[in-house]
């Protein structure tokens, strides 16, 4: 990264405050009436210079946090896509939509069967068909139960990560990272500055890492889902009746119906055994990976907050040692 790109970083209000502090240091130095106060001013000025440098370093650090996170994840043997801080809310929103779509589809399937069963079953003649549909609904509910729980846990994680991403993104865009260092200089704002700096130091790396990991989990799940739909489709590739039904449904214009309901109903009915086998494979792999990922993310975030608290105290003590002016 060259000097020009360094200048393009969003230092925001932090660098302005650092500038003001530098100017204030200069003014104090030139206006100091006694040699002792002038030495104090020099000492304070050095502190301010160090603070200004640190301000720039933190802004730079925030910009490279995601790549550091991915490298750490790689060193730990974890696959994680690299996501910039500002992209985390969008990526998490995309993941949330994908997972939510599947969750709703699962519930809609089950509800549709249940409702159709209730309506058809209301007529005496078609009662067996109604019961068949009702039991299909409970079958879907049962087989998808752990999967749905894992999807809910994943959705909650994506929401939390999106919210944190939004906060971090705003912090990055407004230069709050720089501001946090600038706030370390005056003793009155040192504590809040230390907490902010600690939060930024930890989560500039941890959040992109965790969000990248979550994104990879959802991506893998999407691949599993696609593979499942393909496997189901292949099952009825040689069944002319199923193919005709599928083409009829696809010509109705509902792509969602074609890809999901039609495949499950037509190809599933043509080969229930295949449907069970492929669904079991998808649900087992997808569910367990999502569950494991959810737990890892929860633990990692908990540790992140603990380290933030620990580091905040250390930064405050360090800032006090570095910037506190000894009154002569």
């Amino acid at each position: 990264m060259g000097i020009t790109s360094l200048l393009n970083l969003p230092y925001g209000i932090g660098i302005a405050i650092a500038g003001v502090e530098l100017a204030w240091g200069l003014i104090k130095y030139y206006l100091a009436p006694t040699p002792g106060q002038r030495r104090e001013a020099v000492e304070e000025f050095y502190g301010i210079v160090i603070g200004a440098i640190l301000t720039a370093v933190v802004a730079y650090y925030m910009s490279i946090g995601p790549s550091i996170g991915v490298k750490i994840a790689g060193a730990m043997g974890v696959n994680a896509t690299q996501i910039q801080l500002s992209d985390i809310p969008n990526e998490m929103n995309f993941d949330f939509n994908l997972v939510m779509g599947q969750y709703i589809a699962n519930l809609v399937f089950a509800f549709a069967f249940s409702a159709a069963g209730a309506i058809i079953g209301a007529t005496q003649v078609l009662k067996p068909i109604g019961a068949l549909l009702g039991s299909t609904s409970s079958f879907l509910n049962a087989i998808m139960a752990p999967y749905n729980r894992a999807l809910v846990a994943t959705m909650m994680n994506t929401i939390a990560l999106a919210a944190l991403g939004q906060v971090m993104s705003t912090m990055y865009n407004y230069g709050i990272g720089s501001l946090s260092v600038a706030l370390l200089l005056p003793s009155r704002t040192r504590r809040i500055g230390a907490w902010l700096a600690s939060f930024i130091l930890v989560f500039s790396i941890l959040l992109p890492l965790v969000a990248g990991y979550q994104d990879t989990l959802v991506l893998n799940y999407g691949n599993e889902l696609t593979a499942w739909l393909n496997a189901i489709e292949q099952q009825c590739a040689n069944n002319p009746l199923a193919k005709t039904l599928l083409s009829l449904l696809s010509s109705s214009g509902f792509m969602w119906l074609q890809s999901s309901v039609a495949l499950m109903l037509v190809c599933g009915a043509a080969s229930p055994l295949g449907l069970i086998k492929t669904a079991a494979s998808l649900v087992s792999t997808g569910t367990f990976n999502l569950l494991e990922g959810d737990i890892i993310i929860d633990i990692a975030m908990g540790i992140g907050f603990a380290i933030t608290a620990w580091l905040a105290d250390l930064i405050e003590a360090g800032a006090r040692a570095l910037f506190e002016v000894k009154h002569l």
Partner: protein, 489 residues
């Protein structure tokens, strides 16, 4: 997962953090600021030493700790769960198809409740097992870093963040092997339960039934039993053959023949043809039967003597009239009476048998429809010689106990498997329950106790590491003084 790499990563990270921290204390605080750093330096050096000691102990130990075994497969648990629930789901569908046309709604809903119960139970168990396995995998990744968290907490012991880190570090150290043990235990239990429930195959078929003979009969097959009253279809496993082994009517074993007719059309993949059964007693008996059931049977086997104007005929299904005849009756009834000479001999002409319904928990038996009692009572199988010479005689056959099996739930193939599920679950779990209790108590109490104790003892641990640091610093300082005298700069 390469634990050696993680450990080395942890050691290097820890050394880097402590080096920066100690350097910062010495240079910034001590030299530049001229502050008194003695206590802080002692604590930092002590914590660093404690960290090195911990990692030196754990590094060689980690590879030998038996409890840190490879995590069981959580995917396998879910896969088996899905297969079992899918088959149970299809059993429900098939049952709906069979029972609703004959308006056996209560029976269907009872079976449905049983299946829902099984699914709910093994679903909870599978989810719990997978969660514990997933937690174990997550803790396993954290395990090598636990000493680092503890050492960081010890470096600044009196801060809230340090307490949390100490808690995380200790909890990870203690809970990881315990959760590992718990996950293996749950895996074994789930595997045991699912294996006990495991269906023979995933191929479920519906077989049509055509029964010709005295009814209702209880048909025993290689895939379970069913009663013939109104049963038009039975569910079977497609991967297993079906042989009829016994046909019983009113505890009497019938002679039978059966044929498997192939399906006339193959559009519906579930349909597997028709089972045609022809059954009969050795003679055409008259059943004592009313709307509530079958109460026995009898048959005039032979007219032994015949006088002039002799006659004999049936008045109703319990009364036979004779005049000027001697008739030999076979009867399977509670008793016999008549206003003429009767000679009664017990006989075993027709084989009797015990019967049995499906293996279900007793609480479900009334719900799945009634099967006949296993053993008959109040019955005698008799040969009766009734003689009425120059007189009219009424022979009255007294009914036995009721052949009360009227369920239309065919407990065959998949349904038999589903009905036996709760029993298998209970049997499987009873043997494991004490282990489950012990596991929860041990893991919960130990983890909570050690974590709380560690957090409470943190200040004292900090004093310990401070003393350790003091000894090391005081030992190194004079040594450094000597070395610095020897250095030319």
């Amino acid at each position: 997962m390469n634990y050696a790499n993680i450990l080395w990563g942890s050691v290097l990270t820890g050394v880097s953090i402590f080096s920066i921290y100690i350097t910062y204390i010495v240079i910034v605080k001590g030299r530049l600021r001229g502050m008194n750093i003695t206590r802080e330096l002692y604590s930092a050096v002590g914590a660093f030493t404690a960290f090195i000691i911990m990692m030196s102990i754990i590094t060689p130990l980690l590879g030998h700790l038996p409890s840190l075994a490879k995590p069981p497969s959580g995917s396998w648990v879910f896969k088996q769960y899905d297969i079992v629930t899918a088959v149970l789901g299809i059993v429900k569908m098939v049952s709906a198809l069979i029972l609703f046309p004959v308006e056996e709604f209560d029976t269907y809903y009872s079976l449905s409740n049983i299946i829902d119960g099984i699914v709910g139970f093994i679903g909870g168990l599978a989810y719990l097992t997978a969660m514990v396995i997933a937690l174990y995998k997550a803790l396993l990744a954290l395990f090598p870093w636990a000493p680092l968290f503890i050492a960081i907490a010890l470096a600044r012991p009196n801060k809230p963040g340090s307490i949390v880190l100490m808690g995380i570090g200790l909890m990870t150290l203690v809970a990881t092997p315990l959760i590992g043990w718990l996950s293996s235990l749950f895996y074994r239990i789930t595997m045991g339960v699912i294996t006990a429930l495991s269906p023979p195959c995933l191929d479920i078929k519906i077989l049509g039934v055509a029964y010709y003979g005295p009814g209702p009969a209880l048909v025993t097959t290689s895939q379970g039993v069913f009663m013939t009253n109104g049963t038009r279809y039975i569910p079977i496993w497609g991967c297993e053959g079906l042989q009829v082994s016994q046909v019983v009517w009113d505890w009497l074993v019938l002679n039978y023949t059966y044929t498997r007719l192939p399906p006339g059309f193959t559009i519906i993949p579930l349909y597997n043809g028709t089972l045609e059964i022809l059954a009969h007693l050795p003679f055409p008996a008259t059943a004592i039967e009313n709307s509530s059931g079958v109460y026995g049977a009898w048959f005039p086997l032979r007219v032994l003597k015949y006088w002039r104007n002799g006659t004999g005929y049936m008045i109703n299904d319990t009364v036979f009239y004779i005049r000027n005849e001697s008739v030999l009756f076979w009867a399977w009834v509670g008793g016999v009476d008549g206003n003429c000479s009767l000679r009664i001999n017990e006989t075993g002409m027709v084989k009797k048998t015990l019967v049995s319904g499906p293996m279900v928990l007793p609480i479900f038996i009334p719900l799945t429809g009634s099967y006949p009692p296993s053993y008959y009572y109040g019955y005698r199988q008799m040969l009766i010689n009734a003689t009425a010479f120059n007189e009219s005689c009424i022979v009255v056959f007294e009914p036995g106990s009721r052949w009360s099996g009227y369920t239309v739930l065919p407990a065959t193939g998949p349904v038999e498997w589903a009905l036996a599920g709760p029993l298998n679950l209970v049997t499987g779990l009873n043997s494991q329950w004490s282990n489950v209790e012990t596991a929860f108590t041990t893991v919960g109490v130990l983890t909570a106790a050690v974590t709380l104790l560690g957090i409470l003892l943190l200040p004292y641990l900090a004093i310990g590491t401070a003393y350790l640091g003091a000894i090391i610093v005081e030992f190194i300082s004079p040594l450094w003084g000597v070395i610095s005298q020897l250095l030319p700069f």
